[in-house]
Symmetry: none
DNA sequence: GTGGTCTAGACCACT
DNA sequence: GTGGTCTAGACCACT
């Protein structure tokens, strides 16, 4: 479900990234509640504090708002912000991937081929699931 | 010089990645010595042990061999291995970037555009420098 | 407890060897946690980083897996791998010992007698202790 | 020629071990000169100081005597001492090998089989060469 | 508390 | 000078 098997990225960030994508994709709609910390922690096999950490990240970005005693809700402007953030995040990662390739002197053509392979592989793999 | 301003990847791994790229690109040739750990540590402003950690990683991958009291040398089969490793690493990162995009429901066309932007940006940015 | 009084083998490797033996012998079972690096460091009177180094070695060999914030756990296939690794290590050491003997022109019979002596001595000495 | 490809034992000790075996085996006779530091260093592809270090070790053990300006000579009681020392060294290594095996819970029978394998392998490998 | 990374500083084997 | 190991002490992510 999470996409960094190498464990190089902190868990809380992987979770935040995932939810951000869900919001950007409209899987969670404005004013819809995210799953409770405990529910999601259970589902992901992760400590509730880690989920809390992820939610705080999304709150700081203005994607969600906490309503006391009720839960975390997608904010009115959350979808647009999530789309922007996700696109930025994707771009940053593409840039890192491509810099790795350039350092190894791969040609642009080789890089584009790797991109196409990844597009195919991800098409099958990533039925985005609502968390 | 190092490419993860976000600080998600540990320093020693960034250093290993960079050198691996240098070896893959033929910037360091077989039987050529890498800079000594102290020299490189000074240049990068990090602790020699951190560089050592990076060098151990490259040694484990069979890219370099240590000659006691002399230095770390690119192994005869190091270049090919470095190319393979670098390509794999690039692919993995592309895959992660693209999964981020897919979760946010970006189209393949949008992703390809981001790739092209990143190719342009990286062309200027990453004149691979010999460490 | 550690078995190289001569000090030829680095500490972290002696620790890794010891734990590998424990895992091979089933003293640590799959999904069982090894002692924490701090606990073990205290017990052995060494620096936690030294234990960490040993643990990384075992992780690289696929004998244990780290679960962040919880501990190092014997992997499902760890026991078999540990047995293989330990047998290989034993064989390599026997080979070195025997080459030493052959260079000094000891007969095979003399070598076998030394082996029997060592078998007796080690029977008493090495009640393998769970670290 | 040297028997620790893993590089875990210091070079100077491997060289001392080798020469000690040669003396024990009567390949160097009492009053015979060992090769000069420079000659041996060249032959082994090693720094003369490393050879010097090995020679000092043998001198300390009373196996050889330095005659100023001439070279290092096997001492009158050197052969016996070398045999004792070599046997001790062999025994110590056997003991370490066997402790490794016992920790992994290998049976005495398995250990004896490994010994026999090593005896066969070493028979072919170790045509003791005069350095 | 537990693993993982990093620094500052030291010492050893080898060149 | 060069790689390899070790210590003491610190901070981060996660439980």
């Amino acid at each position: 479900m999470l996409n960094d098997p190498t464990g190089h990225h902190p868990l809380f960030r992987q979770i935040a990234d995932y939810l951000r994508g869900n919001i950007a994709a409209g899987i969670y709609r404005p004013d819809e509640a995210l799953p409770s910390k405990r529910t999601l922690a259970l589902k992901l096999g992760v400590n509730p504090l880690t989920v809390q950490h992820a939610y705080s990240e999304l709150e700081r970005e203005g994607l969600v708002e906490s309503r006391k005693g009720i839960g975390m809700f997608v904010s009115s402007r959350g979808v647009g912000r999530a789309r922007n953030k996700s696109e930025q995040a994707c771009y940053q990662r593409l840039l890192q991937a491509i810099q790795t390739a350039r350092r190894a002197d791969l040609s642009e053509q080789q890089i584009r081929e790797l991109v196409e392979q990844a597009l195919v592989a991800s098409e099958k793999a990533s039925k985005t699931e609502k968390l």
